[in-house]
Symmetry: C2
Subunit: 227 residues, 2 copies
């Protein structure tokens, strides 16, 4: 299994390439519209065929490349059944997407949004905006729910082995990966904090709305189609 | 062995933490002054002691945190004997720095600057500005020499096994790692190009001077001491 992390500086979004080199096939998780040529160049230079595009949720801060990638490569788009209606494969908790010999298991992790999913591969988990490095996604729009988010982090993700590598959907400080053990011990949003304390903390963040919310959410519900 | 990649958005610099978790010791490669608190927090949260700071070269685009880290942690600073005179350990080609059970081997790779070094660990190489992903450092200041740079890339680095992971000193497009095999096949600066063609290409780049050249080079020759 090859994992390649890709960064979009404008939105601080991480996209991930997950590939079975021997089988010559790959998936992209959370691709960004503006980076489609970069990502397709990486895939081409590695001699891979893109078979699947997975979304961790309907994003509010960037527009997905999923639909455009489907048009250009024939890849299947995959996301939570609670998410964008445009996708080809509507996933539920425990569903598996196969990329050659690699099983990608969908874990339902709502709370940042109501369609939040994390994607588990052997030894690593792609956590979208549910769990960030020493942080987590906000829960104050798109049917976010801090109580659900707390459960998704502490019950679903923290049930994984300590040495599971955490690949988040964003980072704003230049951190690129973590582990479940590190986040359980050192994530200031949840370490040593009960659900009530977390919900109070999240309610008091006082963040401005995401800059691209009005544009990105409807575009992403249409797999990136811009009006 | 744990490798953790860290990014400074301002200068698009990658810093690397290389740690022997069992022994509880770590090195930082190319730390950035403005990120010292972030990097020390990561080291502390992982329960590690910083024993060495390694520089791939005297940088012209950011100021190193090496001297400040030495003051705060007692770590030894290490760089090419041809580089900053302030360091504790002056490395030559083939010298080894030990981080617990991990051997970091210094490879002399001049050309971007005359003191360029790459650092080899099992399965991966930290290439500084000698080899970037699908690119390379410029060779038009700080005693840079395109002919030397070509040899450093094609003779020293490309002599490593194809599956060696390449961790560069910078990336400007959001790419985070590559492999020697990929760069040999797809790096447009060197793939299928002889030395004469490379030298001509590099001479014609017409790049403006690095923004922080006048400030950064003298500061970095003093391990980050600012006037």
């Amino acid at each position: 299994m090859m994992i390649r992390q890709l960064f979009d500086k404008e939105s601080s979004t991480y996209t991930y390439l997950v590939a079975d080199r021997a089988a010559g096939v790959a998936a992209l998780i959370d691709p960004v519209l503006e980076q489609i040529d970069r990502d397709l160049a990486v895939i081409r230079e590695l001699g891979l065929t893109l078979t699947h595009v997975l979304e961790t949720h309907v994003h509010a801060d960037h527009v997905t490349a999923a639909g455009r990638l489907r048009e250009r490569t024939g890849a299947l788009t995959c996301a939570s059944a609670a998410g964008a209606p445009c996708v080809d494969v509507r996933l539920g908790h425990g569903d598996v997407v196969r990329i050659g010999e690699i099983a990608i298991t969908a874990l339902s992790t709502p709370g940042h949004t109501d369609d939040g999913m994390s994607f588990l591969v052997p030894g690593a988990v792609f956590t979208g905006d549910t769990l960030l490095i020493r942080g987590c996604g906000r829960a104050d729009f798109q049917n976010g729910d801090a109580s659900q988010l707390y459960d998704s982090i502490t019950r679903t993700l923290f049930a994984l082995p300590d040495d599971t590598v955490v690949y988040p959907g964003h980072d704003y400080k230049g951190l690129t990966s973590s582990t479940i053990g590190e986040e359980r011990a050192s994530n200031p949003r949840v370490a040593g904090r009960d659900k009530a304390s977390f919900v109070t903390l999240m309610a008091g963040l006082g963040l401005p709305p995401p800059r691209r919310l009005a544009e990105a959410v409807p575009a992403n519900r249409a797999c990136g189609a811009l009006a």
